[in-house]
Amino acid sequence: MTTTTVDTSTAPGKPRLRAWMRGVLAGPLAFIASWILMAGAALYLPKGAAGIDNMVFPVVLFPLIWALLFLYSLLDRRLLRAYGVVMLLLAVHGGLIARHLAGAGA
């Protein structure tokens, strides 16, 4: 907490930079992460009786996933942690997709 106060009061350029970084995280990055999460989730969710639940549920829930990531990105006071969470989701699901596509292509 103390660190944040010192940061913002002694370096007038930093609050603006932090605001931009938060905006980038909540805007484009959260959107991309939601999209990748939606696509990646289809690889591990149960397929259900008709074999389509794993594709339908992520598509249906995409708006909610984005809204939650957007709000979380704006509200987590520790910007670095927020970046970490979003990037982790992005990396895990991006990795799943890459592994699946590489396996399919092999």
């Binding site: 999209w35 939606m38 009786a49 008709a50 389509i52 598509v59 249906v60 995409f62 708006p63």
Partner: protein
């Protein structure tokens, strides 16, 4: 009561306000047009009625006519065919195939869709219009039949921006609306009390703030559902399905379609008889308990032809059904879930629920009226939210300009929408391209509203002029419909065209309400006056 620290409340309030103000004007346009689009079927029946009323279900005894018209279409253009109803209850029969174009050297070029569209009077079973040509021409013909409803629906669905970009924009607007609803829910510290609180003896700004909060609180669940389902519709086809096809099926679209919609039957292009459509429709009605309203078929006149018959939901069911028949013998083949998959599933049920929840069409006119009222409240919340935000900052020049912009869109959009039917009727009467005529009317109204917003003495004057003009414009709509050859009230009533009379009455009532708001002032008017600045300090304190 939701307990939040003062700092966290301020943060959420900032997200709530900024998310609304940044894209609020476009969001307001999407909500306004969506509210009207709830009654798109009724708008079609009102603006382009036949001499006698017709239902939106498929009529009886159509087999001889369909067989006759189908035989008249080049077999190359009968890969797919559709039977459905359009504005005024017109029956539409459409055939489509592919046309291979050739370049200058005679080499095969790109394939394009090509087909024939028949517009049929379902009462007399006579062909009203026949259009043959590429897909764009068929689209234009289809849109002419239901021009006014299509204009509002397109504005709502994609703001008339070409796909997929229009869907992306409205999808993002839906996400913004979800964020505004979620943050609005959390920052309302006294949810129950705020449902009933309006401080009548306080400053105008506080009263307006209370009205915004009351309307917003009552409609919060609805706003969330609409935003959620709206975003789903925008992103499902533009972003979701392509992503699934790419990831799950490695880009193999044929495999994706087979998985989701079922394996196509083995190809057999041997010419064959065509099924009895009346028997198929009657069987589907007997199986499902509802009269079908849509038939989609493929390979008309071939041995591998199949028909998918869609029926609306019956009482006690959440969704409709879609039995599949042989397109040759008319034999029932199997019952297919209405959207995706080859057997009932939770995924199909959830996806199928999105439609009724968004369109409000699950219980006829009553549920539509409720959705209209809630949509109207949503538009009111969006507009008053933007007015409150700009007026709290009214001492700054930039926000004064923003306030004029909000007034232009807030009150100019209803005016432009009210003027659009003038374009529809003028286009139909003079034989102009109806879509262009509608755009001209809409655009002229928008430009006139912009001019008023720029030159008026105050924003209060902008509001007064635009509300009054909208009132007079609405009052003139039924007269214009009549002058353009539409049926009069006596003729319409005696002919059973009750939608025409009801539509006129609703529009006249809307005009009278606008004139009442202009004459006596209400709601937000006081917010926009110079008194706002002083009250703003109290409100924000």
């Amino acid at each position: 009561m939701i307990k939040l620290s003062q700092e966290r409340t301020k943060e959420l309030l900032a997200i709530h306000g900024w998310s609304g103000i940044l894209l609020g004007l476009l969001l307001y346009a999407v909500i306004c047009t969506g509210t009207i689009a709830v009654f798109s079927t009724e708008i079609g029946n009102w603006s382009n009625p036949l001499d006698e009323p017709a239902t939106d279900s498929l009529p009886a005894n159509i087999t001889p006519l369909v067989h006759e018209l189908g035989a008249d279409v080049d077999p190359a253009h009968r890969e797919t065919f559709f039977l459905y109803t359009s504005g005024g209850g017109r029956l539409m029969l459409q055939f489509e195939g592919h046309l291979e174009s050739e370049d200058e050297d005679g080499h095969p070029g790109a394939e394009e869709h090509y087909g024939v569209l028949y517009e049929i009077d379902p009462n007399t079973l006579t062909v009203l219009n026949r259009t043959e040509g590429p897909e764009a021409l068929l689209d234009a013909a289809r849109r002419t039949t239901d021009a006014l409803a299509d204009f509002f629906v397109d504005l709502h669905v994609r703001l008339h921006i070409p796909n997929p970009w229009g869907l992306f924009v409205t999808g993002v607007l839906g996400l913004i609306m979800m964020v505004a609803a979620m943050t609005g829910f959390v920052v309302h510290r006294h949810l129950i009390r705020e449902l009933f609180t309006i401080r009548r003896n306080k400053e105008a700004l506080l009263r307006s703030r209370d009205a915004h909060v009351i309307a917003g609180t009552w409609t919060l669940p609805f706003a969330f559902v609409l935003a959620f389902t709206g975003s789903f519709f925008s992103f499902a086809t533009s972003l979701g399905l392509p992503a699934m096809a790419m990831v799950v099926f490695g880009g193999d679209q044929e495999r994706a379609i087979a998985e989701v919609f079922g394996e196509p039957p083995a190809t057999d292009d041997t010419p064959a008889q065509v099924a009895d459509f009346d028997a198929v429709i009657a069987d589907a009605q007997a199986r499902t308990g509802a009269r079908p309203n849509f038939v989609a078929g493929r390979f008309y006149g071939r041995a591998d032809s199949q028909l998918v018959v869609f029926t609306p939901a019956v009482e006690g069911s959440l969704t409709g059904r879609s039995p599949v028949y042989s397109g040759v013998t008319g034999e029932f083949l199997y019952d297919k879930p209405i959207l995706v998959g080859q057997q009932p599933s939770a995924g199909n049920t959830v996806a199928a629920l999105m439609g009724p929840l968004h369109f409000g069409n699950f219980s006829g006119v009553i549920s539509k009226a409720v959705w209209f009222a809630l949509g109207f409240a949503g538009a009111y919340v969006a507009l008053t939210g933007m007015l409150l935000w700009t007026n709290r900052r009214a001492e700054q020049r930039a926000w004064q300009r923003m306030s004029r912009l909000v007034h232009w869109v807030g009150y100019g959009l209803p005016l432009a929408m009210a003027l659009t039917p003038y374009g529809t009727f003028a286009g139909r009467w003079f034989g102009w391209a109806i879509e262009a005529a509608q755009w001209t009317a809409f655009g002229l109204a928008a430009l006139a509203a912009l001019a008023i917003a720029m030159v008026a003495r105050s924003v209060a004057q902008v509001r007064a002029i635009l509300v009054a003009t909208t009132g007079f414009t609405l009052l003139g709509v039924p007269l214009t419909r009549l002058l353009a050859g539409g049926p009069g009230w006596v003729e319409a009533w005696s002919g059973g065209l009750t939608t025409v009379v009801a539509g006129d009455i609703v529009i006249i009532a809307g005009g009278i309400i606008c004139l009442g708001l202009w004459r006596y002032g209400a709601g937000t008017s006081a917010v926009e006056t110079g008194r706002a600045s002083a009250a703003a300090r109290e409100a924000t304190a």
